[in-house]
Symmetry: C2
Subunit: 365 residues, 2 copies
């Protein structure tokens, strides 16, 4: 099966083998060594000196952790949203009582750092900014370095959803001054879903001291205390830790810059191939993501028909659109364990399946 959704991504055989290891005592010596090792490795991939905590949760729980550990009900927060996951981040903050000011972009576009600067300058009561680095629902990567610069200049907290970017495309936590950065095991990390990673800066910890949103399971101070003893506060998803250990070793061997270059190359290959089929990208191409490509469904082609054909006849699994994009786009994941060959096979399968799903190659004629 050529699983080309933007997560869960395929896992290398050695990761799956590790995932199948027998259980151990999560309060014992072996786990203590394991969590120290993977936490240290994650700091390298995060490019941070701060602790990176490993939470047993989906990525969305990691986003909730970012919010509830730094904010109080009534805090004014700027939500910079360019899609479904940006909206989700804002909805979490709102659920916990934040006063959310929305800077929403048309889906498919990236955020404009100048407009973020303007929004912050026009409302000095804003305490924090929520931003998605790579918007999985639209295939757009925000100019995070530039956004971070304007946020830093104005001394606001910056909470970043880097779930589908970190470990795949460039992100430098400390250099860019990101306060809370969230990622998830099932993306570029090539590990099954079930773990979220959360880093927190010194500024984040200062915010924690006065933050009054209720928290228990996602309380990062409990994770900090436990990590110093080589533990997690609650029983961790051990199998995913076993897999992560092996995956991080593999990623470390490849090296950060090589990983980034590989994703950039595969992103380009995917976009070129999609265009060659006469299809239209959904994203503003200047900000097209190197981890996921969103493609407009051509007129007359039904999403389910196309994707079922691809899966049943070609073993290629693509993702549909989310929220208001359901039935309007399909998405190709190209992050984590993915080769040029798999992208080429995906494109070939599309070439065969599209006409069978009702597509007329008008633009290619």
């Amino acid at each position: 099966m050529n699983l080309r959704i933007p997560g869960p991504t395929p896992c290398p055989p050695e990761v799956l083998e590790a995932v199948a290891q027998p259980m151990i005592n999560h309060r014992g010596r072996q786990f203590a060594a394991l969590i120290q090792r993977v936490s240290e490795r994650l700091k390298h991939f995060y490019q941070t000196k701060s602790d990176v905590f490993i939470l047993t949760t989906s990525g969305t729980g990691g986003l909730e952790a970012a919010v509830v550990n730094t904010l109080s009900p009534g805090d004014r927060v700027l939500s910079v949203s360019i899609g479904a996951f940006g909206d989700r981040f804002a909805a979490i903050a709102e659920s916990f009582g934040a006063d959310v000011v929305a800077l929403n972009y048309e889906w498919g576009k990236a955020a404009d750092p100048d407009e973020v600067a303007k929004a912050l300058s026009s409302d000095p009561s804003i305490k924090a900014v929520l931003v998605t680095h790579n918007e999985t629902s639209t295939g757009v990567t925000n100019p995070l370095a530039e956004i971070a610069r304007v946020v830093r200049e104005r001394e606001k907290l910056l909470l970043v959803d880097a779930i589908s970017s970190l470990g795949s495309i460039p992100l430098y936590t400390d250099e860019w001054g990101l306060d809370v950065v969230v990622s998830g095991s099932q993306k570029g990390w090539m590990v099954p879903p079930g773990l979220a990673f959360v880093s927190m800066s010194e500024r984040g910890w200062q915010a924690y001291e006065s933050a009054t949103m209720p928290r228990y399971y996602f309380d990062l101070a409990r994770h900090r205390d436990s990590l110093s003893k080589g533990q997690t506060p609650w029983t961790p998803a051990l199998s995913m830790f076993f897999g992560l250990d092996v995956a991080l070793e593999r990623l470390a061997e490849e090296g950060l810059e090589s990983i980034f270059a590989r994703h950039a190359r595969l992103g380009r290959l995917t976009r070129e191939g999609v265009r060659a089929l006469g299809l239209t990208l959904f994203a503003d191409e200047r900000f097209a993501s190197d981890t996921v490509t969103a493609v407009r469904l051509p007129e007359g082609v039904e999403d389910k028909v196309l994707r079922n054909l691809l899966e049943d006849d070609h073993g290629v699994v693509l993702a549909g659109g989310q929220g208001k994009l359901a039935g309007r786009i399909f998405r190709i994941g190209h992050l984590g364990l993915v080769s040029e060959e798999e992208i080429r096979q995906t494109l070939s399968a599309l070439e065969v399946a599209l006409p069978r799903a009702g597509y007329t190659l008008r633009t290619r004629a």
Copy 2:
């Protein structure tokens, strides 16, 4: 390795094999069939007609879900606590603003249903009761059926931590009238940690309508909506679902009553063996748990010395004490995948290791 901690429990080889399956699309047809299958099977083990939701989280997150989906800040709640996990349940409710009235018992004792009745009658403003079915920290099983009866008579909500009981010892959700019941994959279910199960009664859903505690990741209405489409609201820990599917099939083959009988037999065997070594049980024997046995550390024996000896020389892994019981007890898990042979080996290892750790067999002389 003879992993005899009260969770994570050992997993059968076929479960670990399933856990290692390649990733699939969590929004696709295969997962829809899988989640429908395991959710239906869980309803049987819960003995309920209500939905059982599967959350990607440790058990503690399941407890948080029980609280935040049914309560509002300021709600008066009776916490019936007999140990560390009862205290944790109360702490979660307090963190989210509940007004917690504590009915605490000396650790090692069970709760008294008459006293629960008295506490409820003396304060009609109490809206809900939190109770631990099986207190893993002390090895005590509460008389849940009797507690439930007095709670039902007074028409209060009953939230139950059944993490280390459900699927191992008798619990009848609908018959007993339990409103929210939480369990965790790494206990009697023989699946690695990472999933919590939560059932919610009609009364629970009525409470949900007016409950205002903030919630997002643990919002059960989102799970209900997604389950009707064969999905979870957030990316699920797929590997654990694969394992759960196989484990539930195995458990269904054994049958509910056989599973209960096996745990009762192994619980008895463990307690008899421990006493035969001249050791003292920590729990009130009338309420001793059939999933975990807590044993007082004899004078002169250091917890770490004993447990390291057992692990290094005998391959037997026991759990230490939690919270104020650290260094005062050790605990033997006998739930999930466990045979008489493994209990006998544990007892033999203790017999050899205890004297080496400084134990004099005074009472056996």
